[in-house]
Symmetry: C2
Subunit: 194 residues, 2 copies
Amino acid sequence: MRKGEATRQAILDESIRLASTVGLGALTIGTLATQTGMSKSGLFAHFNSKESLQIQALEHAGARFREHVVHPMLAAPRGEPRLRALFDLWLTWVSTGLPGGCLFIAADYEFDDQPGPVRDTLVRDQRDWLETMTRVVGSGIVEGHFAADTDPAQFAQDLFGVVLAYSVTSRLIQDPNAEAYARRAFESLLRAAR
Amino acid sequence: MRKGEATRQAILDESIRLASTVGLGALTIGTLATQTGMSKSGLFAHFNSKESLQIQALEHAGARFREHVVHPMLAAPRGEPRLRALFDLWLTWVSTGLPGGCLFIAADYEFDDQPGPVRDTLVRDQRDWLETMTRVVGSGIVEGHFAADTDPAQFAQDLFGVVLAYSVTSRLIQDPNAEAYARRAFESLLRAAR
């Protein structure tokens, strides 16, 4: 990796840590300069606008998510074992992947009413993730783990809701039962699908 | 209502509309001045800091939520009918209550890692709402609509997740099936509780 690219990656690491805490909308060349101690002009050389920085931060967070959730999940056997791996890895990502929780989840609500390329990137990412979950649930039908009339897209939505609620209950409310609630909800979804 | 108080209410109406779209963190005396055409000094006379403005906006949104969701729900008979009313009214609130969706939901993810009085207000509000939902589910056990071993706090969490997912799927992804997903998820929760 060339030095310029290594620097860019280090700045993006810092960007997604910052954005996870203060929100993607508050990630600007200015806030990043303050946070990293780098000069604004140095940061402008890497990211020529706030919007470009925010989109590159989402892409960087996406690469981290694939590395920590999607790729290890694919090592589990198809069907229910893979769905369990997905859920476990996703909860861990929300809890410890970034200091301020999942960047995508927070950005989903922040940018839903702000048209533009940042929102477009988020829509594509979240559609992709729902489709991935739908495929994993579908593999459980093929493997005979779930009933043939299970609706994989509905399951994916429901699982998304479980993790969204877990994020609020664990991070905002800091309820010690947050993980137990999420795991019980997941087991209920599995039970209903069998 | 005195003129000063009427003005304050009108400004708060505008504040929560603005915050629902750009995020509560972006609601400042400066952005509100730009949005309303009022002078910054005039706004400072009503709200003496950004933090005070944000907290008063949350309180104002809370009053609107009680008016549009909590009070009409209490007109429905206890137990399952009241829970159905709660769900319907809440979905409507998320869809049409404010131009940018539910202010509380977006702020939950924005402020979960930002300690201070805004976060404290949110924690109290969300705990209260989860407790209200828990009580409504509990009334369904008393009325004999739900099985005695139903866990009302778990149901409240699960219902929260359904609405959080609905918010992303309807507002960000704009999936035409968003409401159908949410309603099917709700019916599954009711079925499992009976």
